[in-house]
Symmetry: D2
Subunit: 263 residues, 4 copies
């Protein structure tokens, strides 16, 4: 192979910087910090990109995996900035990006019986490094929402459903995924649980009925909390109800930067 | 290309008949019979396969599309047996198969206000032809289910959720998709609707509360109806609740052939 | 129901404007303009949102569907601005948004045999109306990409694969979806086709081998064309290779606004 | 709650046994045996069902989770029969079923450079217990397939693509997932790898070109191997090519029971 051209290293004359180039949907086992248990093992889907300078024909895709393997499971998540720095160096790039999606497990105790079991939450880390390191962390939290209108107008009952509340934050002081999850769960009509005995089911049913909330209410209550948390600088909240009375979903979203005026 | 070998037409010596070979996930516009409006346009995902005799090296993938194009939108669904016969001939096969998945739209009137709008249902046709032509038709129907246990044990309210009820039938006398859909909708705690005004929302909320049903109840009620419908020879019923109090689903299924003893 | 409170119409004191609130994943049959045939029927997934003023407790979800039904299939896509204006009015909102995803079919002729068949493309319209109407249109185009590096270093063959090229544009003069699709198809190693006879398969195989392209090359070539098309004011290009030699994908993206300096 | 009825425990008079009832899409961390490293941590999606006798109104959904929690991560996969036995007891059922889907990681060494990295494979266990315990294990293996026809008719190059080969087996002597994966990988035009340097990419490109295979060839070669492996009693093989020259897939499947005559 000595005389073969290294195509990726050719000079490119089209004068077009590529915003992001790299590998997508790399499945990889990771180890994540766990507030209760120290660490937990899970499995991630990774996207890893760099910015490609206008005069480089191509990036070297294999190097993304080489850098990842160097950090490996134990050292990957705790060292995202170093990982992106190493990626920048290996790819000779001005900026590097990674998005890491994974299920995260928390033990939840049923509200009356106290029986514990594991609840999965889809989480996300979005990290970038040019001159500055930036990190956004996010959680998707399944909850129960009960419709205030349905409760008001009906002689008995009220439609309710599984809702998925998504929260992404940028912050300047450390925040646990668990804190974000709990912030969301406290905002819904009721939390959900993997395991509910009869006494628990009675509790969550009545709890939801006593706390009706539209998607609008959920995103507003979360916004109030997030505005008050000084660790958080920017956030996006989305609520999506898998409506029990429709086959389409109800949706609401609010994004804020703490600099912005609100309202 | 004169001297090039026709690889697919080579003789195969491995003595292995291939059960199914062909094209998968072909997206195609189709026209379906509509009880209310004569016909409707929709879009299908098609799988089309043949059985490949043990002594043929390969099938000719392009011929599946040629046959499909010959039938085209107007003549495809009304002539499934002829389509499979033509596929068998074109591919020199003993058996041909097709699976056709598509959204089907029915106008639904809100239960009190009477306002009409379009509800989509995922439908499926599974057709095969060896010496005999066989056709299975199926519908996926979103409904509301309300938990009998939650209602019984709670002082107010009851958890409820969107459920997806799937029904597939084999039959000897013609059945409309609309009939299958209505059979399912009548079995749930409440039908769902694309558009509900306040009077309608009150109605469906109270209706669901008055008709609690487990997934077990839904599949059993449907089974009773299907056993009594003499046009139907075999069926499969599945109910899946997107539980509002859990992030996992509740599921039940029953399959019966009319020859079988039941129970 | 006379004495029941209209909860959605209550005054909200939390002083939080909701960016977007409405209905998501509404499935609806639509009719789209077709350069070759006038119009075509297809099926869309719709999201429809409004901005909710800070002093309104909730939006009225049923009105989204009422407005949609008023426009109905025939008048929906040709009148997106009027549709959003009607939505703003019905919901008493300052801004309205819709995203419309649908498969769009074009007849493609095989390159040598000339046999025609239908190719599906996932398309998208993103429309918004506050004081100004804005529209982004997008296409997802499956193509073949053949790796320049693999070709250079190998004594024979070169790995190639299905790639999905996504293009979204904002524009000030009308552009057909067909034009965007053709622009993308001309940029790949080879176009793909639903139906290829042997002479066609020889053609596309050799064509791809003669036109190797990295994801980087594809997004750059498209960027050059889009920069030169004066109708287009902003664009985003993404290329994603379903790599035949990996289970992860290769990805590149470029976004540009015509005001920006490029490179 | 003392006077409330236990609805699930009511007697049912409809005389309809429910084939399967239980929980679906339970996400759960698991520990799986690993030929190279002893064990590995991963994350599963679980369905757990029982058969419900005709005279029972409902099953007790919470007990499925209670049994799962009793086995927990460490003791779940190694004790599937005991798990199903405990499920039968807890639910007073004649039969219990579980389906367990999870990504499984194997270290793969690039074919020339020898650089190791982790490849994910979707795996499945399908276990049932009535009077007998039955277990089916399955793997989904991404490989490269190169089209024999395209190679034969073209002056240079040949279209190739990522293929997904699925294999499920029933067996009477222990088989590692790794053995099934290797059996599949040896059958394709080329294996795929997470990380390939230039020397490796040359190798796999040329390897694929030297080993063209239709989906038909892949399922037949696998069938021959599976027929000869005396540990295996039944199997199903599926091959699906993400065709690089089409947007639809090519598919072939073979199922055999060792009792059956073959061909």
């Amino acid at each position: 192979m000595k005389n073969r051209v290294d195509i990726q290293s050719q000079t490119d004359l089209r004068k077009i910087t590529i915003d992001k180039v790299g590998v997508k949907n790399v499945r990889y086992p990771i180890i994540v910090e766990d507030r209760a248990r120290g660490t937990q093992h899970t499995v991630a889907d990774l996207d890893i990109y760099v910015q490609l300078p206008h005069d480089h024909r191509g990036t070297h895709m294999s190097r993304f995996l080489e850098v990842l393997n160097r950090f490996h499971q134990e050292n990957f998540i705790p060292n995202l900035q170093e990982f992106l720095q190493a990626t920048k160096l290996a790819l000779k790039a001005e900026a590097a990006y990674t998005t890491i999606k994974f299920p995260y497990f928390m033990e939840k105790k049923a509200p009356v019986s106290g029986i514990a079991s594991l609840q999965a939450y889809n989480c996300i880390f979005e990290a970038s490094l040019d001159n500055n390191f930036q990190l956004i962390i996010g959680v998707e939290v399944p909850v129960t929402s009960l419709c205030p209108c349905s409760r008001e107008i009906s002689d008995f009952g009220a439609h309710n459903q599984r809702s998925i509340i998504s929260l992404k934050v940028r912050f300047h002081d450390f925040i646990w995924l668990e804190e974000l999850i709990e912030m969301v769960e406290d905002t819904a009509s009721s939390q959900i649980y993997p395991l509910l005995k009869r006494v628990d089911e009675k509790f969550v049913t009545e709890q939801a009925y006593k706390n009706p909330a539209f998607v609008e209410d959920i995103v507003r209550e979360l916004t109030l909390k997030l505005m008050q948390d000084n660790r958080i600088t920017d956030f996006q909240v989305e609520a999506e109800n898998l409506e029990s009375i429709h086959s389409h979903n109800a949706y609401a979203s609010v994004s804020r930067s703490k600099d912005e005026t609100n309202g």
